[in-house]
């Protein structure tokens, strides 16, 4: 089941620079998208979300962009900080299945000094 894909398993970025994480999906019924961050031995921590009626949502250093026609979303982190080093998951759900999230495989982000 590959409804949500994160094609980059890892990303290395310098502290202070922008991190851009990408996510593609195939299910046109998805209309709620979320990004989670996960540290080892912890559960996923909610970062930011976007509904399909929007194309951008911003919260502090985190911005999510949604391109419905391309079935693509991205997460921008500006500026990147060492504490941002973690695995980032993209997730999506359908209107009729709230809470039944489909997760991507994750992208390991490493922020270097």
């Amino acid at each position: 089941d590959q409804q949500v894909k994160q094609n980059s398993p890892s990303l290395s970025v310098q502290e202070g620079r922008i991190s851009i994480l990408n996510c593609d999906y195939t299910n046109s019924m998805f209309d709620y998208f979320l990004w989670y961050k996960k540290y080892p031995a912890e559960g996923p921590t909610f970062l930011i979300s976007i509904s399909s009626i929007k194309d951008k949502n911003e919260d502090g250093r985190f911005t999510v962009f949604l391109n419905k026609s391309a079935k693509h979303l991205s997460l921008h982190i500006v500026p990147s900080q060492p504490g941002d080093s973690a695995v980032y998951f993209c997730a999506a759900s359908e209107t009729d299945s709230w809470g039944k999230l489909q997760f991507g495989a994750g992208t390991q982000v490493v922020v270097t000094p």
């Binding site: 709620y32 912890e42 996923p44 709230w98 809470g99």
Partner: protein, 114 residues
């Protein structure tokens, strides 16, 4: 900040034994979930629960699995007769409601079936 708590953090059990994984969701949340992540695989949905009944379940959630909210604070996942392939990280989550309401996850219980 309120959080979802799970116990135990690690559970080791023998194949065929019953296990109960426990969760305390965020107090004002109404929707509860269990997810799991097998090592090296994606996080996958097991079941959602609202108003004391299952809202939705995945194909994984067969008759060996059950969920319960035995009191006003706990939410449990029971695996009746564990198999080796049940070894995974099990995450409990809760949300305020449906409709653009994010899920908040606990730190998980690592279940090892030997």
């Amino acid at each position: 900040e309120p959080e979802v708590t799970q116990t135990p953090s690690h559970q080791v059990t023998q194949m065929g034994q019953e296990v109960i994984l426990r969760c305390v969701p965020i107090s004002n949340h109404l929707y509860f979930y269990w997810y799991r992540q097998i090592l090296g695989q994606k996080v996958e949905f097991l079941v959602s629960f609202y108003n004391n009944e299952i809202s939705e379940k995945s194909e994984i959630f067969d008759d060996q699995f059950s969920v319960e909210r035995p009191d006003g604070s706990n939410f449990t996942l029971k695996i009746r007769s564990t198999k080796l392939e049940d070894s995974a990280m099990y995450f409990c989550a809760s949300s305020e409601g449906t409709g653009y309401s994010p899920l908040h996850f606990g730190n998980g219980t690592r279940l090892t079936v030997t």
